[in-house]
């Protein structure tokens, strides 16, 4: 369900590392909770993101949700396809529905994120109630 090569946050974002860059997205749990996504607001290329701070937002038919930067770094690419096809976030949250690519400024932050197994457990608790 949740790919092993991603690192997860409790705010339901993920990071995939490749060649020193990090690809960021939201999780399958997040897209399901949001429902049909109709609008994605992403930071511009060059924006410096700070871990845990708002980096953008996604809007479903029903509501707006903030997206928090899972790690710090500079935005080097954004997923332009989402501006015309935001539904990719619902269809492929861990793949084609990625949000931004960033150059990590504090790679150590990755070690503080959740593994797929831990995130799965966390989500299971969310689903069964507090």
């Amino acid at each position: 369900m949740y790919p092993e090569d991603l690192h997860y946050t409790k705010q339901h974002e993920w990071v995939r590392l490749s060649d020193g860059a990090g690809v960021v997205g939201i999780t399958d749990y997040a897209q399901k909770e949001l429902g049909d996504i109709v609008y994605v607001d992403l930071p511009r290329v060059g924006t410096a993101l700070v871990q845990g701070k708002v980096m953008g937002s996604v809007e479903s038919v029903k509501a707006v949700s903030d997206i928090y930067a899972p790690v710090s770094g500079e935005v080097i690419e954004i997923n332009d396809a989402l501006s015309t096809a935001p539904e990719k976030l619902n269809e492929s949250p861990h793949g084609d529905g990625w949000l931004v690519k960033i150059r990590l400024s504090a790679p150590d932050e990755i070690s503080g994120l959740l593994s797929a197994g831990d995130y799965q457990k966390y989500v299971a608790e969310e689903e069964t109630g507090h």
Partner: protein
């Protein structure tokens, strides 16, 4: 998802919704389905084919007795006296100051019997309001527990329901109703709705809910019927430009401000709120509801501030606010309704909606945004 807390109320179909995998939401104290398969898919099913909604959270109040008509007329804005038996009417229930207690549907069941369908979260308040105004020979009866209500909406709604009743549904006019039998259950079958489509709202004993629900789903299967939640109900009514209590209308808003002058009959005789409305009509309203569509990138949502585009800077206070806003699945635009000063509340006014601290361009247009082809 979190489990419902014990204080949340549930309809007779609550366990069915959960079993069918609906995403539930606390709606004014009721644990109700927000969506089943997805708001967009449900919305499109209603526009193209047919959808079914459990709206049993809505309240029912019965008024009966020799003066039932007189009391109903006195507490509502519309002309109850003009109703025929078997006819329904949209009306406002107002305070003396002219603001809304609620918006309701009045059904004339008999000369001495009326059924009011009222908003879920207002039902106790409405009952107290009406009972408190009862200086007539009429009895006000809180009847919500005696009814389940289902809405079957969409161009195939008639065909769907017709399979389950011998009553001729095509002969039931818009805003009319009959006493019939659906799926073996006695029901009030009204040609009303809150989606902008043709359709029916049926009222019947809660004990039969699961059977009626299932039979309608079976009957509509060949037309692609979808169970729908409150999410689609909201996007559908917004496209149709219909008011939602707590958004377009509430205690501080009058029918004239909400563009609902057509449900106010000042010449019908006295009713609660009439004096205030007469005064407001003489003086003119200072603000008025108008539709808008976003022209810039962004979605104007409920309670967002609205500025006039011509205003230099945004140092001043906003000109108005968004009462309801969101994406329109049918039009593929972001639409909404907002309150603006009367002078500017006309189509073509350039405005800016403050979306998360950023002004985003929009322009006012007349609602409804969507009208079905009849």
């Amino acid at each position: 998802m979190t489990q419902p807390t014990p204080r949340l109320k549930a309809t007779a179909l609550h366990s069915v919704h959960r079993r069918m995998g609906a995403k539930m939401v606390d709606f004014g104290g009721w644990d109700m389905p927000l969506q089943y398969s997805g708001i967009l898919e449900e919305h499109r099913a209603v526009r193209a084919n047919v959808g079914i909604f459990d709206v049993s959270h809505m309240g029912e109040i019965e008024i009966h007795g020799p003066d039932a008509g007189a009391l109903t007329d006195y507490v509502t804005t519309n002309a109850v006296a003009k109703l025929e038996i078997g006819q329904a009417q949209y009306a406002g229930l107002l305070y003396e100051h002219g603001g809304f207690v609620d918006d309701i549907l009045v059904h004339k069941i008999a000369g001495d019997r009326y059924l009011l369908c009222v908003n879920a979260s207002n039902q106790e308040k409405d009952y107290r309001h009406i009972a408190g105004a009862n200086r007539f020979q009429a009895k006000v009866d809180f009847a919500s527990d005696r009814y389940s209500q289902l809405a079957i909406q969409g161009p195939r709604a008639l065909e769907t329901l017709q399979k389950l009743t011998t009553a001729g549904l095509a002969a039931v006019g818009y805003y009319h109703f009959i006493d019939g039998v659906i799926a073996g259950t006695r029901a009030l079958i009204a040609r009303t709705g809150y989606t902008g489509e043709d359709g029916f709202e049926i009222y019947f004993a809660p004990e039969q809910s699961e059977r009626v629900w299932n039979q309608i789903l079976d009957a509509g299967q060949e037309f692609g019927i979808k169970p729908c939640g409150l999410g689609a109900r909201n996007t559908l009514r917004l496209e149709a430009g219909m008011a939602l209590y707590g958004h377009e209308i509430h205690a501080a808003i009058t029918p004239f401000e909400a563009g609902l002058g057509w449900i106010v009959k000042l010449d019908k005789g006295d009713f609660i709120g009439r004096a205030a409305l007469v005064r407001q009509k003489e003086q003119g309203v200072t603000r008025r509801l108008i539709g808008f569509e976003m022209t810039g990138r962004g979605i104007g949502r409920d309670d967002y501030e609205v500025f006039l585009a011509a205003e230099p800077g945004r140092d001043g206070s906003p000109a108005g606010w968004v009462s309801s806003g969101g994406p329109s699945p049918t039009l593929n635009k972001n639409i909404g309704m907002c309150y603006l000063p009367t002078l500017h509340s006309k189509p073509g006014q350039r405005i800016q909606v403050i979306v998360r601290n950023q002004p985003v361009d929009a322009v006012t247009i007349s609602a409804p945004f969507y009208k079905r082809i009849k």
